[in-house]
């Protein structure tokens, strides 16, 4: 039971059902803070194993197992699960890699596919019963993914254009009037080296954070307005109506979130492809 209790986030909920004096318990940032299930002591620091960590591990296992099942013994004429996963692979190849990078993109399809399905699975955890928490709404997860992407496109840029050449191409894009460079150089350097990975991480995090908060607000409000129906007379009617509307909105938002989850995974992968593409060839 203690194990199960730790699956509840740290948000303080003091309201009991039927308590009519209770103010609306608006969910805040507290619903994203979790009690550690166990802690691993490493001497220097302790690693807390919380629900998001476990969900991330589960996502990793799901993605790995699905792809291993589909492609461990690939057949020329696909059957069963290979059919399904191949559709996903071809989607990433045709709509992201080849669309952005052309033929060069084929080398990066495995990486982009992994990123896309890993991010998507972590996002989808938001609406899976029992899990019901988007892993990517903990800032650390998108940050790590963005750092990996950053390392890869910086490395590829230095490999393909030379260390000096890469930074020269970022700082001084050719074909500009000379007077614009004092303005352009700092902006270009800042945007390529710092703003790109930061916005990549923040975009994913903020979308999932906002979506989860929105669903929680309407779920809590459905519960709270049903609570109001303990009153007598007109307040009770308003309570029932409001509760029904909130519940309906929760369902609609869940559908909308499904769309956003896929879209954000797609955008994350698309931007990764764009960054890699800009590292392969200098701007001209």
């Amino acid at each position: 039971m203690i194990f199960l209790a730790n699956f509840i986030s740290l948000a303080e909920v003091t309201c009991k059902f039927g308590d009519t004096a209770c103010p609306f318990p608006a969910p805040g940032a507290g619903i994203f803070v979790w009690k550690p299930l166990t802690s691993i002591n490493l001497g220097i620091t302790t690693i807390d194993i919380t629900k998001p960590v476990i969900l991330a591990l589960i996502s990793t296992v799901i993605v790995s197992v699905v792809f291993l099942l589909a492609f461990s013994r690939p057949k020329l004429v696909p059957t069963g699960i290979q059919n399904v996963v191949e559709v996903g692979y071809l989607f990433v190849r045709d709509n992201i890699a080849r669309e952005i990078m052309g033929k060069d993109g084929d080398r990066f399809v495995p990486f982009l596919t992994s990123i896309f399905f890993f991010v998507w699975t972590m996002n989808v955890m938001a609406i899976i019963p029992v899990a019901q928490f988007p892993v990517t709404s903990k800032f650390a997860f998108p940050v790590v993914l963005a750092v990996i992407v950053w390392l890869i496109y910086m490395f590829l840029g230095m490999k393909n254009q030379g260390v000096v050449g890469y930074f020269k191409n970022i700082a001084f894009p050719p074909g500009m009037p000379i007077g614009i460079y004092p303005l352009l150089t700092p902006i270009e350097l800042l945007s390529t080296i710092i703003i790109r990975p930061v916005t990549l991480a923040i975009r994913l995090f903020a979308n999932m954070f906002a979506g989860h908060l929105l669903i929680t607000v309407f779920t809590v409000s459905a519960w709270y307005l049903l609570n109001l129906s303990n009153f007598v007379g007109i307040v009770s009617v308003i309570g029932y109506l409001g509760s029904a509307v909130s519940f309906f909105v929760t369902i609609v938002l869940t559908g909308f979130e499904m769309f956003i989850q896929a879209l954000q995974a797609f955008i994350f992968t698309l931007l990764t492809a764009v960054f890699i593409s800009s590292s392969l060839h200098a701007e001209h």
Binding site: N95, T199, A210, L271
Partner: protein, 75 residues
């Protein structure tokens, strides 16, 4: 000096409202022109959609930063 005006309550929500103005206009322009481009040249749908979503993502990020900032830096 006496206080002329005071804001109480959630300042973050006002900040988000302000932060949403620019991206709102931007996203409108992006999708408006994107749909127009697709209508003019339906065969270029793939390329236009990629660039539309890319621009949308870049503009949307600003509004989302405005949404998250109050939570991150405390209300």
């Amino acid at each position: 000096m006496s206080i002329l005006a005071e804001i109480s309550g959630s300042l973050g929500s006002i900040g988000y409202g302000l932060a949403a103005i620019g991206p709102g206009v931007g996203i409108g322009i992006i999708f408006g022109n994107g749909v127009q481009a697709i209508a003019r040249q339906p065969e270029a749908y793939g390329v236009i959609r990629q660039n539309m979503i890319l621009g949308f993502a870049l503009a949307e990020a600003l509004a989302l930063i405005g949404f998250v900032a109050p939570f991150v830096f405390g209300a």
